[in-house]
């Protein structure tokens, strides 16, 4: 009975997002219609959360089988893993939708607005389908749809040549990734005789090692491309920044997580762990991803690009956890594997919260100042206090500071590394503890990066007219931001809220795993530390009594202007200097006029990062294909006699083939 009702909930969800919202928006351009559509999306979000809870409780897992209506089995089901990601999708969608309502109103004409909302709804739907799919067919349909719809959302914002190029790269890489993902599913076919998840899972253990290794690698590449692992990240810093901010929030916050979902689903659920080397491969790639991601992020001045690179970094952290878990699994230590998996999944959830918060914050900033260039911002905290507070929470979370949610997951990851020293294997014993250093470096750099971000955007003096005259964001936008911020804080101080379910989930995925003791201890200690920090803070705050405004110290000069302030570029200079090898900067100083070197009227200085994955890794590959295409094209000479010759040659070679067939 209850199962039936949750199934009905499923249908309602699909119908609302997939049919009702687009139809309403296409049919009517009235304000009321749009409100109704938004309300439907929100309702669907809540319904999804409810379903996720049901799914997690297990005994009445929602299931919807549409196979009777589709050419290949298409069914959706919410098991524990799906439930967790469904919760993630829906929980983030709600505040983003609330934020997006005023945002789209302010930014788009009526026609584009309706299209945007329709695609927005489909985008959410596709992600729900991906995380709840119970057959390979359903998964792939959702997966492709997700890419397409998000590309559409980016293109609605504008279609200049550069944007087109970026979207093109996005689509192309996603398509190649999707091919790898499809291959993952299909590789099971000879053993599972069907793409039903149950059948795949059942066949996973009995497959030859070679195929398992190939599936693992295909999954790593396919989902890695979607997640943005370096060097497959190329599309990410291109596509995310150019989307409208709420869409960036969805893309960075949720869409990347579907890749994590897919990877976990395949490696843990279907394969039950990869080959012995899988953990090392994932760890190395993840470490590189995390480090380079954050280094690139620091060097960025465009807020949204910075956030996109930071997504790359966080994906690196998530995969560090997953790699550790695989390593534990390979050495037969399910408890450690559970700890690392919980860490990775927790970070997945956290990143969904704070990255969507930050992208929404960027949206609020661009809405108020018409710029997301950090060098042109500044002083926003006084002008947009609530937005600033929410973004500050996001920055603290993403920097992995205690009392905020990002810390908890990083802490768990640290502890899983440390637990690695207890493994029997010497290689793992060395590698895992050393990873602490990598993650610490990533964490330290992330903190630096977000000091810079918040500091140069919100603090100090405004450095442009836009920032000078910025106004607080409208109510809906603030509401979305505050909701997400509250989520970060809640999970940061009471991580047990999510940890306990996650441990259950990990136990379901990793048979034989107990409850990692670390998950209990962190849940207990964090509220205490919070109490101490806040208590002490409150106590000392009592000392503060009077204050008086006084001009900032300017070494005795009449005053400071915003030009004298530290900008984003300058702030990151020391780190860029130290890591010059990573960036390979190309510096250019131009003095005007050129003939009077000692009395320049203006000096312009430009420093460009030249590390280009596109040029080094992708271009040659593309060029080979293109040149091959041109060569093949030359075969199509236009001369009919040559064409006839081809036919004869084909015939002759087939006859020769036939001759040797016997």
């Amino acid at each position: 009975m209850l199962t039936a009702s949750t199934g009905a909930l499923f249908i309602l969800l699909l119908a609302a997002l997939g049919v009702a919202v687009p139809l309403i928006l296409i049919a009517s351009r009235a304000q009321g219609a749009r409100r109704l559509a938004i309300a439907l999306i929100l309702t669907a979000g809540f319904a999804g959360c409810v379903m996720a809870v049901y799914g997690f409780l297990g005994q009445m897992a929602p299931r919807l089988d549409l196979s009777w209506a589709t050419p290949f089995p298409f069914s959706l089901a919410v098991d524990r893993l799906s439930a967790f990601f469904l919760l993630l999708v829906c929980a983030v969608t709600i505040p983003v939708t609330i934020f997006a309502a005023p945002y789209f109103d302010l930014h788009y004409s009526e026609r584009r607005r309706n299209w945007t909302w329709a695609l927005f709804s489909l985008f959410v739907l596709s992600m729900i389908v991906v995380v709840t799919a119970a057959t390979g067919f359903a998964f792939l349909v959702g997966w492709e749809l997700m890419t397409l719809v998000s590309a559409g959302l980016i293109l609605i914002e504008g279609d200049s040549t550069e944007r087109r190029h970026n979207v093109f790269i996005y689509l192309l890489m996603m398509h190649v990734g999707a091919a790898a993902v499809a291959a993952c599913f299909f590789l099971f076919l000879p053993y599972s005789h069907g793409l039903d998840f149950g059948a795949i899972r059942a066949s996973g253990a009995g497959m030859p090692g070679g195929i398992r290794a190939v599936i693992f690698l295909a999954a790593f590449v396919g989902f890695g491309a979607k997640a943005g692992l370096i060097p497959l990240h190329l599309w990410l810093p291109r596509a995310h920044p150019i989307a409208p901010s709420p869409v960036s929030a969805l893309m960075s916050g949720i869409m990347l997580k579907t890749a994590v979902y897919g990877f976990v689903r395949f490696t843990f659920d279907f394969l039950g762990g990869g080959p012995w080397w899988s953990g090392y491969v994932v760890l190395v790639v993840a470490a590189v991803t995390g480090l380079l991601g954050i280094l690139y992020a620091i060097a960025e001045n465009d807020l949204k690009r910075l956030l996109a690179y930071s997504s790359v970094e966080n994906i690196g952290i998530i995969f560090l956890g997953l790699g550790t878990s695989l390593l534990f699994l390979a050495h037969g230590a399910p408890l450690g594997a559970a700890l690392a998996l919980v860490a990775a999944l927790f970070h997945t959830f956290n990143h969904a919260l704070f990255k969507s918060l930050l992208f929404l914050g960027a949206g609020a900033i661009s809405n108020s100042t018409h710029s997301v260039n950090l060098n042109e911002l500044g002083g926003l905290q006084r002008r947009m206090p609530l937005t600033g507070a929410a973004v500050l929470i996001g920055c603290c979370s993403i920097a992995g500071l205690p009392l905020f949610n990002g810390f908890v997951s990083e802490w768990l990851t640290f502890r899983s590394f440390l637990a690695g020293s207890a493994l029997i294997n010497t290689k793992a014993q060395i590698v895992l503890p050393l990873m602490v250093g990598i993650l610490a470096l990533i964490g330290g750099l992330a903190a630096a990066c977000f000091v810079k971000t918040f500091g140069t955007a919100f603090l100090g003096r405004p450095r442009s007219m836009g920032a000078e005259h910025a106004e607080e964001a409208p109510l809906g936008m603030r509401a979305g931001l505050v909701l997400l911020g509250a989520g970060c804080l809640a999970l940061g101080i009471f991580p047990g809220l999510l940890l306990r379910p996650l441990v259950t989930l990990a136990q379901a995925l990793l048979p034989g795993a107990g409850v990692p003791e670390e998950t209990l201890s962190i849940a207990r200690i964090i509220p205490w530390t919070a109490a101490i920090v806040l208590g002490t803070g409150a106590l000392v705050a009592l000392f503060k009594r009077r204050e008086r405004l006084a001009r900032t110290w300017a070494c005795g000069l009449p005053g400071l202007s915003s030009r004298m302030e530290y900008t984003s570029t300058v702030f990151s200079k020391p780190i860029r200097f130290v890591f010059a090898r990573v960036y390979r900067p190309d510096r250019k100083v131009e003095e005007l006029p050129a003939d009077q070197p000692y009395f320049p009227v203006s000096i312009s200085y430009r420093s460009v990062r030249t590390t280009s994955y596109e040029r080094v890794l992708y271009r040659p590959f593309v060029e080979i294909i293109i040149s091959l295409a041109y060569r093949v094209r030359r075969l199509q000479t236009g001369n009919i006699q040559v064409y006839l010759l081809y036919i004869f040659l084909a015939l002759v070679s087939l006859l020769t083939f036939l001759r040797f067939q016997r």
Binding site: R634, I640, L644
Partner: protein
């Protein structure tokens, strides 16, 4: 076994030699009209072959086929070709991309290859080697003419030679296909030639030449 019977025997045993001769001559022919004449000759030999087979195997249907071959390939098509050449006012050179010497060598190689092919593939067919080799040689020659002669008319002619080869192969291996099918095939050939004729007019109208190797605007 009267006189007709002896003639039949002779035709069946020696026609392949004549066919090889036409092949070699086609290779060196420089004028379209010569080639057309050679084609007519070739078709006549084949027609004779059809009649001989009909007589020997007592296939009444085959007489009709033979008559069709004679009417279409020996009479109608060459006439049509001459008409075309006249109406198109084209230079009568075949515009070969190989010299006559090369052509002859290639033709000889084709004949050799045909025998080789018959020896390696023909084991299953239990028919005399020579006629089958001739059929294959005709097919290959047709192909060779189409590839090496630049005039549109010569391509048509090459196609016809190729078709002759196929027809011959069918004849000697199976004594021809069912009559309805044969008639259909002839109809197709006629229609095809008609169309190609139309197109040669269009080519000469549009491009003011008939050199198909210069039709290279569409490529890539």
């Amino acid at each position: 076994m009267g006189l007709v019977g002896i003639a039949t025997e002779k035709i069946l045993s020696s026609f392949s030699v004549f066919l090889f001769l036409t092949i070699l001559l086609l290779a060196v022919a420089r004028r379209i009209s010569t080639s057309v004449l050679l084609f007519g000759l070739q078709s006549a030999i084949i027609a004779a072959e059809v009649f001989a087979t009909a007589f020997q195997e007592k296939l009444p249907e085959a007489y009709i086929v033979g008559a069709l071959v004679f009417a279409i390939k020996v009479v109608a098509i060459p006439r049509a070709f001459f008409l075309l050449v006249k109406r198109l006012k084209t230079v009568r050179d075949v515009k070969a991309s190989t010299t006559p010497t090369q052509s002859v060598f290639i033709a000889a190689a084709i004949i050799y290859l045909s025998y080789a092919a018959v020896h390696s593939y023909g084991g299953a067919v239990h028919v005399p080697d020579d006629p089958l080799a001739a059929a294959i040689a005709l097919i290959l020659t047709g192909a060779f003419l189409m590839v090496s002669r630049k005039k549109a008319l010569m391509q048509m002619l090459g196609l016809l030679v190729l078709e002759n080869g196929i027809f011959l192969a069918a004849l000697i291996t199976t004594f021809g296909m069912p009559l309805v099918i044969e008639i259909g095939i002839f109809f197709d050939i006629l229609m095809g030639l008609l169309l190609m004729g139309i197109f040669t007019f269009r080519i000469s109208d549009t491009f003011e030449h008939l050199d198909v190797s210069k039709l290279r605007k569409l490529r890539g």
